[in-house]
């Protein structure tokens, strides 16, 4: 903390550089997996397409088309051609609708992005509150009640929670319309559904971290010194639970992205998840591939940002040692 801003900045740059560099092989591996899901698709895509169009075709025509689309080349060459297209954001064409995948993506992305970010923000606040209360005062009836509640919320499948909320607020009270999307307020119930289950899972991690820190000797010392509860929680506990929690939050962002598929499906929101589900039903592999790669990239970036934040928050990781030397 005392070190000059200049050195800090330099170390930070170096860290960003090495972290980016070490991430590249993983990114390449991800594109390889994404490519193989189409490259190894059972059945010849050209023949499938021709059958779908109902065109009578001969073996020579199929062969000519294969040459035209570059499908006669070896798999490894096709991978690099495909990768080149990917860098130019050419994600291919959807077989079912005949439209470019990128266009479909732009159409469906806003809803999923809004939903995930809203749910992430609200679960961040909710999990800190829930975890903090259940960890700090374990013997009060309030924290026991909250603990039972989180235990229940962790176990409830999100689709059931969604249907339950619909039964109460849409069917029972009539506050929301059933399965309709058009206005911003139609995102309220989906966000609540997604963030409730998520924040319950996260609050257990927060609780776990706080308990671990509160069992440390230096907290005992702080209490013996007569520091107020606020000072201990704010100065010591919060500071030391934050770095591991940032990592957990980044990882949990992945489950949020996955969970949005279920929520979008129930509330009939035209987001990326719905698009992917439709692609599975129509065996539209170009969309599925783009979806997998995009979600992987977002998840990758979330982990990357978490690493940067941790690096910035904890000086001891910076030097590349574990503090034992």
């Amino acid at each position: 903390m005392i070190c000059a801003p200049f050195t800090k900045d330099k170390q930070m740059k170096q860290f960003v550089f090495t972290r980016t560099f070490s991430g590249i092989p993983t990114l390449f591996g991800m594109t390889l997996i994404g490519f193989l899901i189409i490259g190894l698709t059972p059945g010849d895509p050209i023949e499938m397409e021709l059958r779908r169009l109902g065109v009578a075709f001969s073996a020579e025509q199929v062969e000519a088309l294969r040459v035209e689309y570059g499908l006669n080349k070896p798999l490894i060459q096709r991978y690099f051609l495909w990768l080149f297209d990917l860098f130019r954001l050419d994600l291919g064409t959807s077989i079912a609708s005949g439209r470019p995948v990128l266009e479909l993506f732009k159409e469906h992305l806003p809803i999923t992005a809004t939903l995930s970010v809203l749910a992430f923000m609200s679960s961040l606040a909710l999990s800190l509150g829930l975890g903090g209360v259940t960890a700090v005062s374990q013997r009060t009836s309030l924290s026991t009640g909250l603990y039972v509640l989180t235990m229940f919320l962790v176990s409830v499948p999100s689709f059931w929670l969604a249907l339950f909320l619909l039964a109460v607020f849409a069917l029972g009270l009539g506050w929301f319309k059933l399965l309709q999307f058009g206005n911003p307020q139609d995102l309220i119930l989906p966000t609540i559904t997604l963030s409730l289950g998520h924040s319950a899972v996260m609050s257990r991690l927060v609780r776990e971290r706080i308990i671990a820190v509160m069992s440390e000797d230096y907290i005992r010392l702080a209490i013996a010194k007569g520091l107020t509860r606020r000072a201990i929680l704010g100065r010591h506990v919060f500071k030391s639970i934050l770095p591991p929690l940032i990592t957990n939050w980044a990882i949990s962002f992945g489950s949020l992205l996955g969970g949005s598929v279920i929520v979008e499906n129930i509330f009939n929101l035209p987001g990326l998840g719905q698009m992917a589900l439709q692609a599975i039903a129509e065996r539209d592999f170009a969309i599925l591939q783009a979806y997998l790669l995009f979600m992987g990239l977002v998840f990758f970036l979330a982990n990357f940002v978490a690493d940067l934040m941790n690096h910035w928050l904890t000086p001891q990781i910076k030097k590349g040692d574990n503090g034992l030397r």
């Binding site: 039903a281 599925l288 982990n303």
Partner: protein
């Protein structure tokens, strides 16, 4: 107050001692044993045949013949839930087995071969972990086509890397024990060492971790069935039942709420047992205000 030490008060004090701090474990264990009984004898205990269609009593309210009412085809919901236990829990168990079957060899190879084998295998695990779990499972299911088998394969392929890492860590620890080194010097074959010395060390903690993950597996698999990507409709799987009942949700919400409640209860019982085990192992004493 006088010192009364009757048999009943002694029993009560002993009882509270037994329950104190173990409430979650006992509660979870009780529910879990009910589910296990249902998984084995669900067919025999069910009041009606799970696939018997009664079109005169479609979507009926709970009655004596149909304790939880009927679904859109007039099938008894309670019977279907009871019979579905074995399929729902069995799928989760099969997935856990498949995960172990992938993670165990990978983790063992990485830890025992070291060097480039270790580097490559762990890099592959990293790449699999780089995708959000459910998204990756969806892609695999899309590739294989929607069915219960592909759901199991998809979830297992998305889930194995974290367990493989655990196997690797445990094996590294187990292989560094003195007697393992000694048996290597005695010239025992690697497979014999693994079977005799390493597996007995790593399997117990692995199985505990895997049983803790059962709750998560159950949730993911039922979610996939709910999306229509897992068990397919005529099957009495809990998630699939929910999916089938969705169009009739507005007409009779209980058709949908009952299977969901059973899933919740099953997941909850696994979580409670896990929580109980963790509490027993937890020796920390955090400061409490």
């Amino acid at each position: 107050m006088a010192y009364v030490d009757t048999t009943s008060s002694l029993l009560i004090s002993r009882g509270t001692k037994l329950i104190k701090g173990r409430t979650s474990f006992l509660l979870g264990g009780f529910f879990l044993s009910v589910f296990i009984v249902l998984a084995i004898g669900g067919e025999a205990l069910a009041p009606n045949s799970p696939n018997q269609i009664d079109l005169l009593h479609r979507l009926s309210a709970p009655s004596l013949t149909y304790p939880l009412g009927t679904d859109h085809l007039g099938r008894c919901i309670l019977s279907r839930l009871m019979v579905g236990t074995s399929l729902s829990l069995g799928t989760a168990l099969a997935t856990a087995g498949l995960i172990l079957a992938i993670a165990l060899p990978v983790g063992l190879l990485a830890a025992l071969c070291k060097g480039w084998v270790d580097a490559v295998l762990m890099r592959v695990a990293d790449i699999f972990l780089a995708f959000p779990m459910l998204v990756f499972a969806l892609a695999i299911i899309g590739y294989l086509g929607a069915s219960l088998t592909s759901a199991v394969v998809g979830v297992a392929l998305a889930w194995w890397p974290s367990l493989a890492r655990l196997v690797r860590t445990l094996t590294l620890d187990a292989a560094s024990k003195q007697y393992v080194l000694a048996s290597r010097q005695c010239g025992l074959k690697p497979l014999t060492i693994i079977r005799r010395h390493i597996l007995p060390q790593i399997l117990p903690p692995l199985l505990v971790v895997l049983s803790l993950e059962m709750a998560g597996l159950l949730l993911v698999l039922s979610s996939l069935s709910f999306l229509g990507l897992g068990a397919q409709p005529p099957a009495a799987e809990w998630g699939a039942m929910l999916n089938e009942a969705r169009p009739f949700f507005a007409e009779r919400p209980s058709v949908v709420l009952a299977p969901g409640l059973v899933i919740t209860l099953a997941v909850l019982s696994f979580n409670l047992v896990g929580e109980g085990i963790r509490n027993q192992l937890d020796k920390r004493k955090p400061y409490q205000w």
